[in-house]
């Protein structure tokens, strides 16, 4: 009796495990499809000729495939200008915030200061302010300073959301570097700035890199400020370019798709290469502990 009972329970246990495994893989397939299917469809659309896009039955694989939409986007529309503007603005924002942020984060992580956690939390609270709440005063100030339709006119407002994020992330990274190394450098006669430059920053390079990626993505994707402050195509960034796609009688979905793919491909590459870093940076602010 006992001998027969044991195999039957192992069998049902085994079945349960198989069922669980199948359920898990189904779930994983759903998650992956959820995450990439809309973008894959956008890629397919960008290679489909306009005539085929208005057929009753959508084509899952474009035949014949066309590069006409990419041609339209880059040759007939000022899209290369948008790409250039986005790279300049996002790049300048990243550099500005890393410089200002590493000074502040270093002081907050290394000095014994009264109210330093308060300072840190104030920085974080400031980043929570809605952009729409400051867009009107910034517009008035930028207009008075003659900075509308300039790169500075976008980089300066971007500091408002990117700098608190930078300080918060770098503070976390600097704290993980052993303070003994600072002390050793101090004995050798290095001052604070030298320690920051020669000891802390090189050791925090992975953290700096993670922060740079996140700030770059946030600046690259920003829309409200760019829409409000950049009124000529000479200075508009890609999101504004895509939002303002000229729509006279119908939406040129193929061109829109091509433009979307161009903006998104660099981000997809960043994400695939650095997912671990990006997730560690993103969860640093969102999770207790």
């Amino acid at each position: 009796m006992i001998r027969r009972a044991i195999p039957s329970t192992t069998l049902s246990f085994h079945r349960l495990r198989v069922a669980r495994g199948v359920g898990m893989w189904l779930g994983i397939i759903v998650i992956v499809a959820w995450s990439i299917a809309p973008f894959v469809w956008q890629v397919v659309t960008s290679f489909t000729p306009s005539n085929d896009l208005v057929q009753r039955t959508p084509q899952l694989i474009p035949s014949p495939a066309t590069l006409a939409h990419y041609q339209n986007v880059f040759i007939e529309r000022p899209f290369s200008q948008f790409v250039q503007n986005s790279i300049i603005v996002a790049g300048a924002t990243t550099v500005t915030c890393l410089v200002l942020g590493s000074f502040a984060a270093y002081a907050l992580a290394r000095f014994r200061l009264r109210g330093k956690m308060l300072t840190l939390w104030t920085f974080l609270a400031l980043s929570m302010f809605p952009q729409i709440a400051i867009v009107m005063p910034l517009y008035i100030v930028l207009r008075a300073a003659g900075l509308l339709n300039t790169y500075q006119g976008l980089v300066i407002p971007y500091v408002s959301f990117a700098l608190p994020l930078t300080v918060w992330l770098l503070f976390g990274f600097f704290r993980t570097i052993p303070v003994d190394l600072d002390d050793a450098a101090k004995i050798d006669g290095a001052n604070r700035l030298q320690i920051l430059w020669h000891v802390t920053l090189p050791l925090a390079a992975p953290g700096l890199f993670t922060t740079a990626i996140l700030v770059f993505i946030f600046a690259w994707n920003e829309f409200l400020f760019a829409l409000s402050f950049m009124t000529t195509t000479d200075y508009q960034t890609i999101p504004v370019g895509i939002a303002n796609f000229p729509v006279l009688y119908f939406v040129p979905w193929g061109d829109v798709a091509a433009a979307s793919v161009v903006v998104t491909i660099p981000l997809v590459i960043l994400v695939l290469l650095f997912q671990r870093r990006i997730i560690s940076g993103l969860t640093a602010g969102g999770v207790k502990d």
């Binding site: 809309p38 000095f111 200061l113 829309f223």
Partner: protein, 326 residues
């Protein structure tokens, strides 16, 4: 020696983690050193603090100041009007319409994002091959610019050639094509679908990080006591995850309440203001009608609502934390 050591520790302001022995080496000219350190700290923090004061604090105060004025660039007026703007906000049908829609969007999207995100996180918490790839894939919706998300969903939910209509009709779920973004009945639903698509995987990654901080031996103990997977989730993991869940939900709700990009590009607030949110209403009031004063009053009203949302969540979070500590 002990006395000197303590003295040395006091003199050198360095971070908490340093050992007292190390502190002794720097025990010279205490006062000068301390004030020099303080000056250095202030000098290092000042640039960032001044920058933020200029681009965040000053504009916020400016907005509050504007909310008491009738500043109007089209009408060329600019004077103090007391509470007049707020009286107008409270009796403005457009404001309340946007307020209700923004609230509806916030509640529904946050609910589904948290629920679906939790489901995804539980699946991802299992160990399996290719987990890194799945996590990378889940970052894609987050990384795609919201403007592009709007365009993607605008195309997929297109009334004539959209693939969603085609698939739903092929499956027999709808009998004729639905005008998703162009009809009052469906536009908000389409926006919510797009937002849930974009944010649920992100929520999952945040919640997964929270799940991973829960010690495995607690679940193990439950398993030894004969609890099934469902019971372990419901009685052990969920209560321990609750603080993370609520914090993530709060941050998400505050963010959802500001929704602008998705609405602006997908529907522009239409049709017939059925998707107008507080942010799009503010933007139109300020940059189309050029009524900066009144636009600021709407923002202040929006801000007050956000504080109420945060307070409501805050109470829940405190309660949940008390419960987990017991």
């Amino acid at each position: 020696l002990a006395g000197r050591q303590r003295e040395g520790e006091d003199r050198v302001p360095v971070s908490e983690t340093r050992s007292p022995q190390a502190g002794r080496k720097f025990g010279f000219r205490p006062k000068l050193r301390a004030s020099a350190e303080l000056k250095a700290a202030v000098a290092l923090i000042a640039p960032a603090a001044v920058a933020l004061a200029c681009v965040t604090v000053y504009p916020t105060l400016y907005t509050i100041w504007l909310s008491f004025r009738n500043t109007d660039f089209a009408g060329q007026q600019n004077s103090f009007t007391g509470l007049q703007n707020f009286v107008r906000v409270f009796s403005d049908g457009a404001f309340w319409n946007a307020w209700v829609q923004t609230g509806y969007f916030t509640v529904v999207s946050t609910f589904f994002e948290t629920l679906i995100g939790l489901g995804m996180a539980l699946i991802l918490h299992e160990t399996f091959r290719g987990r890194g790839f799945v996590r990378a894939a889940m970052l894609i919706p987050w990384a795609i610019p919201t403007v592009v998300t709007s365009r993607m969903f605008g195309w997929m939910f297109d009334g004539q050639n959209g693939i969603v209509n085609y698939v739903l009709e092929s499956l027999g779920l709808i009998s004729k094509y639905v005008n998703w973004t162009g009809s009052q009945a469906h536009a908000m639903q389409t926006i919510i679908v797009a937002d849930v698509w974009k944010t649920a995987p992100f929520m999952a990654l945040i919640l997964l990080a929270g799940l991973q901080t829960i010690p495995e031996d607690v679940s193990e103990a439950g398993r030894v006591d004969g609890a099934g997977p469902f019971r372990i989730f419901w009685s052990i993991r969920l209560p321990l995850l609750m603080p993370t869940l609520l914090v993530a939900g709060l941050l998400r709700a505050l963010d959802a309440f500001r929704i602008f990009d998705l609405v602006w590009v997908l529907t522009g607030g239409g049709p017939a203001n059925s998707t107008e949110t507080l942010s799009t209403l503010t933007f139109k009031t300020s940059f189309s009608a050029l009524e900066f004063g009144y636009g600021s009053s709407i923002v202040v009203a929006m801000f007050v609502t956000e504080i109420l949302i945060a307070a409501a969540f805050g109470i829940f979070i405190l309660r949940a934390m008390e419960r987990t500590e017991q």
